[in-house]
Symmetry: C2
Subunit: 437 residues, 2 copies
């Protein structure tokens, strides 16, 4: 497609900024098919232009002064990724004043200055997009704002700080103290050298302020949130909670209460069969309760350069599509522009690789298992798990197994051979196995 | 707000149609605040106008002839909820030809005639929206199409038929046969009298065709999907799978494979620690793998009038906002129109009701438990779970308990009283408990 590119200026080339550049570069062909125009980074601001980075800077105009980029760069969209609430606020307000759509991942900025920033944007008819500010790659902002827009939302609760969830998960798995789990998290890069914002719940409260505004149509109310971090959680509490049938998670909770709302961040016992209890490690998860939809849940990576960049780029593409609109609905029905849909060959299921579960009924004879496993070996199929059960009453014996991942036809061939064995009864059962690692 | 209402015509007043009318009526105030204009149903088509319904029809022009509604009604948006692929196809094409945006929940229609329908819409620059066609109330269409648009999507897998998931869940929980679980599902309204489309995997394949088109930018390829239903699953397989550490779920799976794709629906063994394994009953769940975001998961109600209506109304509101746009980005930053944000009183956490977990260290004396439980009783606090542990070595004894749901201040008062008891050591630990029922 030869359409004019959408030009993006990125302020800040840290982990997320590099992820954004990488993503717009590596996924450029797909993105152009979705948007109908290329979306390219033309300008970036960094104070350390010579630092080695994990992204290509070819053809990108590097500005040492972010203010000048905002004031002067010929871009269609500005992306603020420097963090903090001082300079970031000034840059964002300057971009709005210049009439540029802004994308930001900066939850602290929005939680503390969002009313000013969104007010300024509304006054100018401008856009400030912030999918990346809450729960990283999970498209929770769009889900609440648009996907669940028909509901009166009763409440939102979420694991929205990956550092705390990692620490609590490690404490539960290893019986570690908070201090030891924190030290491990710091060593692995999951916690900052000064972890206060995370472990004291401030970061979660920033995000909760944003979620509550979206859910309830209220201004950002960060200062009104009751916040309690995870430093008081002990391995003993985690263990006793388990005895009671609960897991301990740091949750951000916003719920309607009479004509008002409850806004709180605190360690919370969650029943171990609730999906929030099962979200471990650095993953984030959010559940939303709407009066029509009931409970809807979302989980995924809440941090990291690529996952956060996924959300930043989603916002960039939303804006790019709106800028490009030549129909009244800028989002194509099937996600790609109609002229960019391409038939793809569908692989016959016989050729699709999968692990397989197989259950056979066999006569209760000597040598059965060895002949079956010999057939599997002859077809180069490894067995990951196997179970043989003796007959009950007059029944046949059962052999059940799970194979390694193999093409479907190889399994079919081996099964056909097994079914010729005299002691194998008719009617084998086989299902596919998927691991979702 | 006095702005001109957005007028909606609803074709079909079955369960979902009634849900849409109910939702647009009951949530009208919130919806107006989000969209900036009222969104009202002005017209509806039904062949049984006198049937008793669970929604208000006051002021709605009822058309006995859906064709005439499509051809003549003065509406801004048409909603197709009659199901089937014959008349629904004609109505949808007629609406597109008339230049009306269409919202549909009809997965069979889109899977089988989607290429024609989306082609016709693209030729006219028209809109066909279909969030409700896959996974009911879960906003998965929007998530893939927009929220994850920065990713090259590698694969999608989901529990996208609630009937099958209910049957498999019951078989696992009760050891029921497929036939008995199906009969129960029919009795409860979770399965149709003729359950073929569900239990043979056809409905899941309809939805998978839509997900694959969105994920990979390919035309709808329903006929190319390999489909296997759940009728061959036995309680024995479910039990053996459990021994191996797996659950059996009917999954729709679409994944890239070389330059092509795999498209398949079949019973699948899923590791029991994967989130898909934990989604039970009529719930749906979808996981998407993107090259930047990694794995993202979504779960919620996949069927039912209100959950499906939630998705239909979300589509209506998307279109309404686009029709109403007086800025280039029709979706307000904080979900509600800037002039519709309203401060809400934040309830002090002392007044927020919650269940509480409490752990006390106490001297190992007689009568400790009775004095503590007496204080709880005096504050009208019931105990849901309690654990007392004898001292280990020189340590104090531990008492841990979980209370019923009570206002925070009542718990604080009781705790303050307990802490005055001579045998209670300093440093009680208390966390809140949330149930997410």
């Amino acid at each position: 497609m030869m359409a004019t590119p959408v030009r993006v200026g990125v302020i800040g080339l840290g982990t997320v900024g590099q992820g954004v550049l990488r993503l717009l570069h590596e996924n450029a062909a797909e993105i152009t098919r979705r948007v109908g125009r290329p979306v390219i980074v033309t300008d970036a601001a960094t104070r350390t232009p010579s630092r080695a980075r994990d992204c290509k800077l070819d053809g990108i105009h590097l500005w040492p002064d972010a203010q000048r980029l905002v004031a002067e760069a010929e871009v269609d969209i500005l992306v603020e990724l420097i963090g903090g609430t001082g300079v970031a606020r000034e840059l964002t307000l300057a971009a709005i004043a210049r009439g540029k759509p802004v994308v930001t991942a900066n939850k602290a900025l929005l939680a503390e200055h969002g009313n000013e920033i969104f007010g300024a944007a509304a006054a100018k008819g401008g856009v400030v997009a912030f999918e990346a500010a809450v729960a990283g790659g999970i498209p929770i902002i769009k889900a609440i704002r648009e996907g669940l827009a028909g509901n009166v939302i009763d409440g939102v609760a979420g694991i929205i700080n990956g550092t705390c969830n990692y620490i609590l998960t490690q404490m539960a798995a290893k019986g570690q103290s908070f201090g030891d789990a924190l030290a491990d998290a710091q060593r692995l890069g999951y916690a900052e050298a000064d972890p206060t914002f995370d472990v004291e719940g401030v970061d979660a409260a920033h995000k909760l302020a944003i979620l509550a505004a979206l859910a309830f149509g209220m201004p950002l109310a960060f200062d009104a949130i009751a916040v309690e971090g995870i430093t008081a959680v002990t391995p003993q509490d985690i263990e006793i909670a388990k005895v009671f049938g609960y897991r301990i998670k740091l949750l951000g909770i916003a719920k309607r209460h009479g004509g008002g709302v409850e806004l709180r961040v605190h360690p919370t016992l969650v029943p171990d069969d609730a999906l929030l209890a099962k979200v471990d490690g650095v993953l984030n998860a959010v559940v939303v309760h709407g009066n029509a939809v009931g409970q809807v849940g979302f989980y995924g990576r809440g941090a990291g350069g690529d996952a956060t960049a996924s959300a930043v780029v989603a916002d960039i593409l939303d804006i790019a599509r709106a800028l490009s609109a030549d129909t009244r609905h800028a989002v194509p029905a099937l996600a790609y522009q109609p002229d960019a849909l391409r038939p793809l060959p569908v692989v016959p299921i016989r050729d699709a690789p999968s692990a397989f579960y197989l259950r056979l009924r066999v006569a209760d004879e000597a040598g059965v298992l060895s002949q079956i496993t010999a057939i599997l070996a002859a077809h180069d199929i490894s067995v990951e798990a196997i179970l043989q059960r003796e007959p009950r009453g007059g029944e046949d014996a059962t052999i059940a197994l799970i194979t390694s991942i193999i093409p479907g036809h190889r399994f079919d061939d081996a099964l056909a051979e097994m079914q010729k064995l005299p002691f194998v009864r008719a009617g084998a059962t086989r299902f596919r196995v998927e691991k979702f690692d």
